[in-house]
């Protein structure tokens, strides 16, 4: 199976062909996928070199000039390094862009912590008005990329698409907005985000719990969570492929009208300082099926 990142250049190349307002800005990373697109659209595929502040600033300028910019690099360099540009050049200027990241939380474990960004969604959470897509499968990534680039009538929405090498076996019919109900039960609600759905389904096998699947986490689908807790009770476990607790506040806000409990599972805050393989990092953060089952049953009993 190809990866979400493999889909990025072909899908966006198609959008470059179809929509003259679309422009792609790269900072070296990912440029190989756009060789043909650069030949066809030399003014709309822009590689600024290893300059991530310029990547975001130039994206904002493109948007001010009426374009729909797609900005891409690794999550660490896209969200964290030029964060003030994300805050001011997009948010404060009141213009939009589609930020598409690769590498996610631990996609290249041998690369070490310099190329890991488990805090990206939490950092974006300090800003207003961002839509955050966390696809769990390459097919979902394709759907959500199209949704992101075309978002809104004025196409000025601020959208983050988080592409990961971590993936579920099957794609679900995501719509860029709502959580999907994957399983229904009466003894709690587990929200699985993006690539962690397979592990959550395995972990909750035989348990009487509702499983919601979230591939779009901002805006947080409060209605879906409230609806699920009506039948399954207000004990909620969030399982997220980035910093643990990132969506805990959103879940608490959604359930402010009822007594509730929320457990936020995800990537640990402490730097692991390990290399190895993706699966080893998933396990080290307690996000493999066996660890999840232990922690979920410990919380819901």
């Amino acid at each position: 199976m190809d990866t979400m990142r493999d889909r990025f250049a072909p899908v966006v190349t198609g959008m470059l062909d179809e929509d003259p307002r679309v422009a792609v800005v790269l900072a070296e990373i990912g440029r190989d996928g756009f060789v043909e697109a650069t030949r066809r659209h030399p003014d709309r595929v822009i590689n600024v070199g290893i300059r991530e502040q310029l990547l975001i600033g130039a994206g904002a300028g493109l948007a001010l000039a009426g374009m729909r910019p797609v900005l891409h690099t690794f999550a660490s360099f896209l969200v964290e390094r030029p964060f003030e540009q994300v805050k001011l050049d997009l948010g404060h200027q009141d213009v939009g862009a589609v930020l598409v990241s690769a590498a996610a939380s631990y996609d290249w474990p041998a690369g070490g912590f310099t190329h890991m960004a488990p805090g990206d969604v939490a950092v974006l959470d300090t800003l207003d008005g961002w839509t955050v897509h966390v696809p769990g499968h390459p097919d979902e990534a394709e759907t959500l990329l199209r949704h992101a680039v075309g978002a809104g009538e004025g196409k000025d929405d601020k959208v983050y698409v988080r592409l990961s090498a971590h993936s579920n076996e099957q794609a679900l019919p995501v719509d860029g907005e709502r959580f999907l109900t994957v399983r229904e039960g009466r003894r709690g609600v587990v929200v699985a985000v993006g690539p962690l759905l397979d592990a959550v389904l395995a972990a909750t096998e035989g348990l009487d719990v509702t499983v919601l699947y979230a591939s779009t986490v901002r805006p947080f689908d409060s209605a879906a969570l409230r609806g699920a807790t009506d039948a399954a009770g207000a004990d909620v476990v969030l399982v997220e492929p980035y910093l643990a607790g990132t969506s805990t506040a959103a879940a608490n806000d959604a359930l402010a009208h009822v007594p509730h409990r929320v457990l936020g599972l995800g990537v640990g805050r402490r730097e692991l300082r390990r290399y190895g393989q993706l699966g080893e990092h998933v396990a080290a953060h307690g996000l493999d099926a066996a660890s999840l089952r232990e922690r979920i049953t410990g919380f819901l009993r």
Binding site: P20, A23, V25, D43, R44, I46, V48, G49, R51, Q53, L54, I56, G57, A58, G59, A60, G61, L62, A63, L64, A65, G66, M67, P69, E84, Q85, L88, D89, H92, Q93, D94
Partner: protein, 230 residues
């Protein structure tokens, strides 16, 4: 809204409406002559053209001390003179740093240094990508603002990219703590820009520098004014 038209000699009076005095700090007046020459003689903009995609763009990156900017915008009819006395107050659209969402005529909001030039690069790219080869993009930065690394990313990219509709004005009032080795213009020239340094108070010299052809290259004009701390 008043229909009175204002000239350069009335600008101190307009600035006085904001500060309560006709003497102003260097941060406010260092840009006054450059702004006036641009808005009076160079930029193809106007209050009625702000939705026109073919208009020239002026991006004030150095958003500190914007009284001269507001005075020029008022003089040229972008915003009512009646707004000026409210400068900085809760109900005023005119803050100590400009906000494009609130200020008619402002292309960007600024205050945090080092954002305008990268945004101007993107604006020039966006206009070029749409086949709009006529509009000029202008950005005003300060000499100390050039310390921000984001500007160096933009300078280093724009030259080789041949963004010949991009123009930077550097107001040089010698305010950088560590002067740029080789001088400001040299920094741009090595990156492939067309560069000239002129007296920032000499309107004809500014106009000549602003209108000098620079085919295939972006253009920087370093406008020297009296030192900030002199």
């Amino acid at each position: 809204m008043t229909t009175t038209t204002y000239g350069f000699t009335e600008l101190p009076e307009l600035m006085g409406l904001m500060t309560g005095a006709e003497k102003h700090g260097p941060a406010a007046t260092s840009t006054l002559d450059v702004l006036w020459v641009l808005y009076d003689r160079v930029l193809r903009v106007g209050p009625e053209r702000m939705e026109d995609p073919e208009r020239d763009r002026f991006l004030l990156s150095k958003g500190h001390g914007p009284m001269a900017y507001y005075a020029v915008l008022a003089a040229k009819g972008f915003l009512p003179v009646e707004w000026l006395p409210g400068f900085g107050s809760y109900d005023s659209p005119l803050g100590h740093h400009p906000d494009r969402v609130l200020v008619p005529g402002a292309e960007i909001g600024s205050g945090s240094l080092g954002h305008g030039l990268p945004i101007a690069v993107g604006t020039a790219l966006g206009l070029r990508a749409q086949g709009r080869l006529d509009p000029a993009v202008w950005v005003l930065v300060g000499d100390a603002e050039l310390d921000e690394g984001s500007n160096h990313e933009a300078i280093a990219y724009a030259g080789p990219a041949g963004l010949d509709r991009l123009h930077t004005v550097v107001i040089d009032n010698s305010s950088a703590s560590h002067a740029r080795p080789g001088g400001i213009a040299a920094r741009f020239e090595v990156a492939g820009w067309s560069a000239e340094t002129v007296d920032g108070r000499d309107h004809d010299a500014l106009h000549a520098a602003f209108t000098t052809p620079h085919p295939g290259r972006p253009r920087v004009v370093v406008a020297r004014v009296e030192p900030k701390n002199a």
